[in-house]
């Protein structure tokens, strides 16, 4: 590896900046990368088409599934291009079997759904590791690295959005007069034009996203390698050495020794071919260490300072209730950790999704409580949307006691006595009350407590015979006049109502 020829600026970056760097790489070499992808995917697509026949969905699925077949050449080409070696496409194609074949079965089966596919691909392809060595290398490189998972997650969605956009865009380009089918019926239309459009769209969109995906994964890999192996430092040292080697020969030996020492010290973190090259100039590691210590003691490397502070190291006292109070929190945390640990790459997404779910649930619960707060209240009308409330037999209606036991044995006789005593209101009230009670408890007329006198009359008209209806109509009329116009009925008419009550309802209310 010749770091001097590196075409990208290596410096300390966050993983997100590394992804950005990958996108810049993809943009810069989009043409060759896109062609490489297409050259790989097209034969696969044709082969699938020939095998799958008219089932276009099968072809689409197969194309998507076989991505590990056409992504390695992109990575291979890029890994050389960043070191200023743009391999001709023909050369890459010649090497295609050698690039794709290693670990192909794993790549097409269980590793196909790995969320860090783009990040782990260089380990197998460029470092040539497999089995346990690959796993350990990935464990080291992937420690605290979640960006690759997000890259896959976002890339997948972008691809879907692009595909949908292509689909709708093509449909929108068809002049309205020439559209023979609606957008939502495109899939079921004769000729399965929708499926074919989806296939073409899928192919195009995959080809657009793939260079960015592979390049971003590669950049993440480079960033991680650079971070672990101090590539940026090495490059600086080399440049310094070159500069000094030109005019200041007397210091060259010391710098070269320093460079070698740095290479050795960094080389203990991870093996690097580049560092192995530099180590050739070093005769003795012990000398180098002494030299490093000597150099570091120079004022230019700052000073060492000791700072003291107090920290409680004993066990923290806990109240009895504290443990119970936080059991839910610990449970949630445990679940999140479990999910996070289950799939290392999915940890960040799982945690985020759990939080999102919790927020959604709380928001939904709050919304339901707010929108149905009437359920918790008392008073008329709160939360009662359904009909039928009060369809039973109320014990009171219009303020009148209607229970049979609250009425005298012979209401007509009692009403007559009251009327003769001059209590017309009491007499009429008793007659009306007794009539309603009779209708509700004996004639099974259901009267809700929201019913007005007029509605009671209409109910009776609909359920009872002519004599009862006629009597009740007159009684209601007199009652309304008395209750709301405060007009007393004539004595004869009131006595007549008392007499007829017996004829219509009999004399016993209960």
């Amino acid at each position: 590896m010749e770091l001097d020829r590196l075409q990208i600026a290596l410096r300390r970056r966050t993983p997100w900046e590394a992804i950005d760097l990958g996108f810049v790489i993809a943009r810069r070499w989009f043409g060759p990368l896109w062609r490489l992808w297409f050259v790989g995917a097209l034969p696969v697509g044709l082969a699938l088409f020939l095998l799958g026949g008219p089932e276009s969905w099968w072809v689409g699925l197969g194309l998507w599934w076989c991505k590990p077949l056409y992504e390695p050449p992109l990575l291979f080409w890029m890994s050389r291009a960043v070191f200023a070696d743009q391999t001709p496409l023909r050369e890459v194609l010649r090497q295609w079997p050698r690039l794709v074949a290693p670990q192909l079965l794993a790549n097409l089966t269980w590793r196909r759904f790995s969320p860090v596919r783009s990040f782990s691909m260089p380990v197998a392809l460029l470092e040539g590791l497999s089995g346990r060595a690959r796993r350990e290398r990935l464990r080291l490189l992937g420690r605290n690295q979640h960006a690759a998972t997000w890259l896959t997650f976002v890339g997948m969605h972008l691809e879907t959005v692009l595909e949908l956009g292509f689909f709708v865009g093509v449909y929108a380009m068809i002049p309205e007069e020439l559209r023979w089918v609606d957008l939502d019926e495109l899939f079921s239309a004769p000729g399965r034009i929708g499926e074919w459009l989806q296939l073409i769209g899928g192919l195009l969109c995959m080809s657009v996203i793939a260079p960015f995906y592979v390049a971003a994964g590669f950049a993440l890999y480079l960033h991680r390698r650079g971070e672990l192996e101090g590539w940026d430092i090495e490059i600086r040292f080399r440049r310094t050495a070159r500069r000094l080697a030109g005019g200041e020969g007397r210091r060259a030996g010391a710098v070269l020794a320093l460079l070698a020492a740095a290479g050795l010290s960094l080389g203990t973190l991870a093996p690097s071919p580049a560092l192995a090259d530099t180590a050739d100039t070093v005769a003795d590691a012990g000398q180098a260490r002494l030299l490093i210590r000597e150099v570091l003691e120079d004022d230019a490397f700052g000073r060492r300072e000791e700072v003291g502070y107090w920290r409680y190291t004993g066990e923290r006292e806990r109240s009895d209730g504290e443990e119970d109070a936080h059991w839910l929190w610990r449970l949630i945390k445990g679940v999140l950790e479990y999910i996070g640990g289950f799939f290392k790459g999915y940890a960040a997404i799982g945690k985020l999704l759990m939080w999102a779910l919790a927020v959604l649930l709380i928001t939904y619960a709050a919304y339901r409580i707010l929108s149905n707060r009437g359920w918790f209240g008392q008073g008329p009308g709160r939360g009662q949307r359904g009909r039928g409330r009060g369809r039973g037999r109320p014990a009171q209606l219009f303020g009148l006691e209607l229970a049979p036991e609250s009425l005298p044995d012979d209401p007509a006789a009692e009403a007559r006595r009251l009327a003769q005593a001059g209590d017309a209101r009491g007499a009429l009230s008793l007659l009306y009350r007794a009539a309603l009670s009779q209708l509700m408890h004996h004639n099974r007329v259901e009267i809700p407590d929201s019913a007005t006198e007029g509605e009671c009359l209409r109910l009776v008209e609909g359920r009872r015979g002519g004599a009862e209806t006629a009597y009740f109509r007159e009684l209601t009329g007199q009652w309304l006049r008395l209750a709301y116009a405060h007009r007393l009925p004539e004595r004869e008419r009131l006595l007549g109502l008392c007499e007829r009550w017996r004829e219509v309802f009999g004399h016993v209310p209960g």
Partner: protein, 325 residues
């Protein structure tokens, strides 16, 4: 109450009954609408009529005007209608070399404001002010309107593009909101037979309507309705219904005190139409829907579920206890 007074009242009540029948001569198959509009007339209020075109809204107002002997005007509300197109304006008379007032169509007894939601808010407000104040101010001079003054504004429930829906505060000015629906088959057949017999063109024929009341008598009737005896329990019932709309689940905004007032005014008019001299709970319940339906603002989820104000009002009326005497 003197015998003479009672006879006079009986005659008035009889004429009110005839008023409905007379309008029914021309407007066939819309009994409930006629009843509601007559309530608005007797209560001294205005009505908002909602219905698709061609159901006889113009004919209804013309018939009302013919039966009462009042003047009738119609204004078709359009997006370019200006307030002065309704109220009137000053113009320079070249012959007299002076300004004179040109009174707008609002100067009448019965005004049909057709498709009120097609005009912008400024013009709507101008009309709604006139409805409230019953006077028009032109260039600083006030002109009182001749009573009775009834505005029948119409809205089309379809074709809402480019309309200016009346805000809640403006809707509150209408005493009633009446839905006018298609007539029944029998009634429509009767209408077609009677309207097309010997008629050239599609002009509205109100010749069958005879004048049964004078505008002055309408005023008397309004005063009579306003003086009807109302028991305290009836007032309580109206208030309970109005208050229930404010606390009801699924109603964002219930009706204000104007709703209770309107409920009682309309109930009084309903009692007059029923030929009674006192108000019963049935009068209140009978007018509750047209009086309150435009004063409720349902919550979004209730509207999405397909509930209408009438459904909610039905539930409210079913749950509010009738008066306890």
């Amino acid at each position: 109450m003197s015998e003479e007074r009672m006879q006079e009242e009986a005659a008035v009540l009889e004429r009110v009954g005839r008023l409905e029948r007379e309008i029914g001569q021309a407007v066939i198959g819309q009994r409930q609408v006629i009843h509601d509009i007559t309530i608005a007339l007797l209560a001294g209020g205005h009505a908002l009529v909602e219905g698709v075109p061609g159901l006889g809204k113009t004919l209804l107002v013309r018939s009302l005007a013919a039966a009462v002997g009042g003047s009738f005007n119609r204004v078709q509300f359009t997006p370019d209608l200006m307030p002065s197109d309704i109220s009137g304006h000053f113009m320079f008379d070249m012959k007299r070399d002076a300004f004179r007032v040109r009174k707008g169509p609002v100067f009448c007894n019965f005004l049909l404001a057709d498709e009120i939601n097609r005009a912008p808010a400024k013009t709507q407000s101008a009309l709604l002010e006139v409805m409230q104040e019953r006077q028009v101010t032109i260039e600083g001079r006030c002109f009182a309107l001749d009573p009775p003054f009834l505005v029948l504004a119409t809205q089309n429930p379809i074709e809402q593009e480019g309309t200016y829906p009346l805000p809640q505060a403006q809707l509150d000015r209408f005493l009633l909101k009446v839905f006018i629906d298609y007539p029944g088959e029998e009634e429509e057949r009767d209408m077609v037979r009677r309207v097309t017999a010997g008629v050239v063109g599609d002009g509205l024929d109100v010749s069958a309507v005879t004048e049964v009341l004078q505008p002055e008598q309408i005023m008397d009737l309004q005063r009579y309705a306003a003086s009807l005896e109302v028991d305290e329990q009836i007032i309580g019932y109206a208030v309970r219904i109005a208050r229930a709309t404010r606390e009801w689940s699924g109603v964002d905004t219930g009706c204000g005190p104007r709703g209770s007032l309107s409920l009682l005014r309309a109930a009084r008019a309903n009692a007059v139409l029923e030929g009674r001299r006192f108000v019963t709970p049935d009068d209140v319940k009978g007018v509750a829907r047209p009086v309150l339906r435009h004063r409720l603002k349902l919550s979004a989820d209730l509207e999405i579920e397909g509930y209408r104000a009438d459904d909610v009002l039905g539930d409210i009326l079913d749950s509010v206890e009738a008066p306890r005497v």
